[in-house]
Symmetry: C2
Subunit: 224 residues, 2 copies
């Protein structure tokens, strides 16, 4: 995990479409992402993945180097996609408001990409669960990235500082931390619990309503 991966020439190009690659590698990639997202990283073995994907056991090590490297490649690609989409929305909101987007639109750029991907019909639905899991059960390499690579979040923090000039920066960072916690709690298991608590009143499949609720809640918190 610490030394350079053997497949660096292939794995390095992040915006690579899995479908373009060898069918076996692509099958391993999507199957692993699904199984990891559903059952957790440590609870899925290389044998589980290859059996479910219908490929040979050695495929993981041949195409990705190791199980951890496979995990890391999924992690890098999905987080890159998510960050890119968030940055795009933030940039658009900034353009719409002369470089000073309001709090509500900043929060929309933060919340909407993972929420829209969580739609039952969306193909990236499983990717969101994978990313959320990486935050708590990820490899040391993933946590290292999460800990040190704050450039993506800094754009949002700076935007919020611009939108709330009267607020102490310390306060803004903490509230951003709270808002992020709202997203990270959107795991399947938590939805199940909420469903049991509310006697089926809450339906997380209605992502548009959920998105509005999250933005309303967080916006009120920021403007408090």
């Amino acid at each position: 995990m610490t030394d350079a991966p053997a497949q660096a020439d292939i794995a390095d190009e992040l915006p690579l479409d899995p479908e373009r690659e060898a069918a076996t590698k692509a099958a391993v990639f999507v199957t692993a992402e699904r199984l990891f997202a559903l059952n957790g990283f440590q609870n899925v073995s290389v044998r589980d993945i290859t059996a479910d994907a219908g490929v040979n056991l050695a495929s993981v090590n041949y195409h990705f180097g190791s199980k951890d490297a496979l995990l890391f490649e999924i992690f890098r690609r999905r987080t890159a996609e998510l960050n890119r989409e968030r940055a795009r929305m933030l940039h658009q909101a900034s353009d719409r408001h002369g470089g000073k987007p309001p709090v509500r639109e900043i929060l929309a750029a933060l919340f909407e990409p993972p929420l829209r991907w969580s739609n039952p019909a969306h193909e990236r639905r499983i990717s969101v669960q994978f990313i959320i899991r990486a935050r708590s059960e990820g490899t040391e390499a993933m946590k290292e990235v999460l800990r040190t690579d704050v450039s993506h979040l800094r754009r949002f923090a700076d935007a919020l500082i611009g939108a709330l000039p009267h607020l102490a920066r310390e306060e803004i960072y903490w509230r951003l931390h709270f808002a992020l916690g709202m997203i990270h709690n959107n795991r399947f298991a938590e939805f199940d619990r909420l469903h049991a608590l509310s006697d089926g009143l809450t339906r997380e499949s209605d992502v548009d309503a959920l998105l509005k609720r999250m933005i309303d809640f967080a916006e009120a918190g920021f403007l408090a």
Copy 2:
């Protein structure tokens, strides 16, 4: 994990003080809690625990039945303690306001126990991290408890319904979900990230200030 544990006669009495038991069992208990909380459940082996505690390898299986049973006993005891303290605070708040506590005091009963325990000087500091971890990386038995045992949360939901009669119940459940997400995000790793993002501006060691910030944020969200 599915069949009844062999040490049920001992393990069942939840309000048991570890210090009262055999020194070896107590050492295993506190050492396991600390290692699990710091390094994750799957990353800590029975050998790690017993070596760190300075006891024999077989101690875990002798005193607790299995590694999973040990994990589960820590989980049960700590969550019971936390829930009891929360219920106590909610009850007191209810008494102070004739059975209809305001939103702010309900949130205080929800946030204050885990936050106060997170104080660097508090002996239960590590227990909070353990409980948070159980939510995402816990055993199937733990998740079963978390999924089905919603009686504790229902008291808070009912109190919030009483405090916000004009709000749709569906809305209240969702906002409670958001508030819980704020707590569950208080992991050491997340604090580190926030620390890096804010250039050291945020100090999670000041739990009183953090508690006030969390209540302010969530209260505004509920009253939105």
